[in-house]
């Protein structure tokens, strides 16, 4: 049922994203998406282009306790490797040669991304003292170290800069990790030795270009602790 022509492929993908197709067609498309990159691209095109229309639904507070119900169900579930569930939990697996090849390729990618034994990954949520709301999120893994403002960064006033510090467990002296660029995205390809489980991450306000003394000179405005995931 998957058409060859680009126009028809796009129309079918559009019908799929709109949700007008019946269950049998939906299932065929999901199976075909595993091996048909043009179809995947067409579906992604419609999902992204039609997405603004979803703003027509009024945002509504979910019932209280819904998160707790989700959290309780996480205990029985672990994130599945992409090789085992690439696209949809509802897609019935058909062990055709093509699917097997796709799975093998995904597994190879997975192994390439996750060295064996897998290096540990860490995460920290940084927030302002006395506030629970997460302002920054830090992820550290073998893929590097990324610290980023959760809802866009507002650089400190007066041309000053946010500087990131790490205090390893048991240490008393913060070590500068670097000055956070004004866009609020700080990235390193490799983990500094002080960025490890139990380390406190802190962000202080410093003069342009960072602290002149190698120690924080301004107030610490956000802090959090790295824990292993």
């Amino acid at each position: 049922m998957i058409p060859e022509s680009r126009d028809e492929l796009h129309t079918l993908a559009g019908e799929y994203v709109l949700g007008v197709l019946d269950a049998a067609d939906v299932s065929k498309i999901r199976t075909a998406m595993m091996t048909n990159p043009a179809l995947r691209d067409a579906v992604a095109f419609w999902e992204e282009r039609l997405h603004p229309l979803s703003a027509a639904a009024l945002p509504t507070e979910p019932p209280p306790g819904l998160w707790d119900r989700i959290a309780a169900r996480l205990d029985g579930e672990t994130p599945t490797r992409p090789a085992l569930r690439l696209w949809s939990a509802q897609t019935p697996w058909r062990w055709s040669t093509a699917v097997f090849a796709a799975v093998a390729a995904a597994l190879a990618l997975y192994i390439a991304l996750k060295p064996v034994p897998p290096a540990p990954s860490f995460m920290a949520v940084l927030h302002a003292p006395q506030h629970n709301q997460a302002n920054w999120i830090a992820i550290a893994s073998h893929r590097g170290f990324l610290v980023r403002a959760v809802e866009g960064a507002t650089p400190p006033p007066g041309g000053r800069a946010f500087e990131l510090w790490a205090i390893p467990p048991g240490a008393a002296i913060p070590q500068s990790i670097g000055v956070i660029p004004p866009d609020g995205v700080f990235h390193l390809d490799a983990l500094p030795p002080s960025v490890r489980a139990g380390a406190t991450l802190a962000i202080s306000i410093e003069p342009p270009g960072g602290s002149p003394t190698k120690q924080p000179t301004g107030p610490v405005v956000f802090a959090g602790t790295l824990s292993e995931m």
Binding site: D7, H10, T11, G14, E15, V17, L18, G19, V20, R40, F45, E47, E48, R49, L50, H51, P52, L53, S54, A55, A56, A57, L58, P59, T60, E61, P62, P63, L66, W67, I70, A71, R73, L74, E77, T78, P79, T80, R81, P82, L86, A89, Q90, A106, L109, S121, M123, V125, I137, I139, S141, R143, G144, L146, R148, V150, E151, V185, H187, M229
Partner: protein, 185 residues
């Protein structure tokens, strides 16, 4: 991950990366940021709070399990989330209508909202969609909106607009073709 890619990540995409690495804190934060929007989308389609809640639960479990697939595919994060919720909501509503509402008496009661396009926000991609939707003829536009926003099937749109099924299918297809040529231009 290179600098450009990191800079292109939205906060939501970053949270999904952390979820792919197994972070529950990130999933919780994603819920805090996105649950109102996503619950609103589910509720609009299924119409019943208890079913919308079930849809949202299943959707977040799917995010938890499939976050790594998102990392691999690298689309727009909030559109990916919307897609998960919409498909689950549409599955749920089709089941309900099959089971108890074969001839849905409420179908056709909700007002057709001519202002629905006005609710699309003012970001760049939204402006393009608005402009292109405005170029469709009225019937094509109604079909697209009823399907995407309200989760209507071909048959439900036909019933709603009191129009033969074949015409609806053709309006949808022609609407999509016109929309794509406008969006790609």
């Amino acid at each position: 991950m290179d600098e450009n890619r990191a800079a292109a990540l939205s906060p939501v995409a970053l949270l999904i990366e952390a979820i792919a690495l197994g972070s529950r804190a990130a999933l919780k934060r994603l819920y805090e940021l996105e649950s109102r929007r996503l619950y609103g989308i589910a509720l609009r389609i299924v119409g019943r709070p208890e079913i919308a809640s079930e849809v949202l639960q299943e959707a977040f479990l799917q995010v938890w399990q499939n976050a790594q697939a998102f990392s691999a595919q690298r689309g727009a994060a909030s559109a990916w989330l919307t897609g998960i919720v919409r498909f689950r909501a549409i599955d749920a509503v089709r089941k309900i209508r099959r089971e108890i509402l074969v001839d849905d008496p409420t179908l056709g009661d909700a007002p057709l909202e001519p202002d629905v396009i006005e609710k699309i926000d003012a970001k760049a991609e939204a402006i393009a969609l608005r402009r292109c939707l405005a170029l469709l003829d009225e019937n094509q536009r109604r079909c697209v909106v009823l399907a995407f926003v309200d989760g209507y099937s071909h048959a439900e749109i036909a019933q709603r607009l009191a129009t033969p099924l074949g015409s609806i299918k053709s309006w949808v297809r022609r609407g999509l073709a016109a929309l794509r040529s406008c969006l790609e231009s």
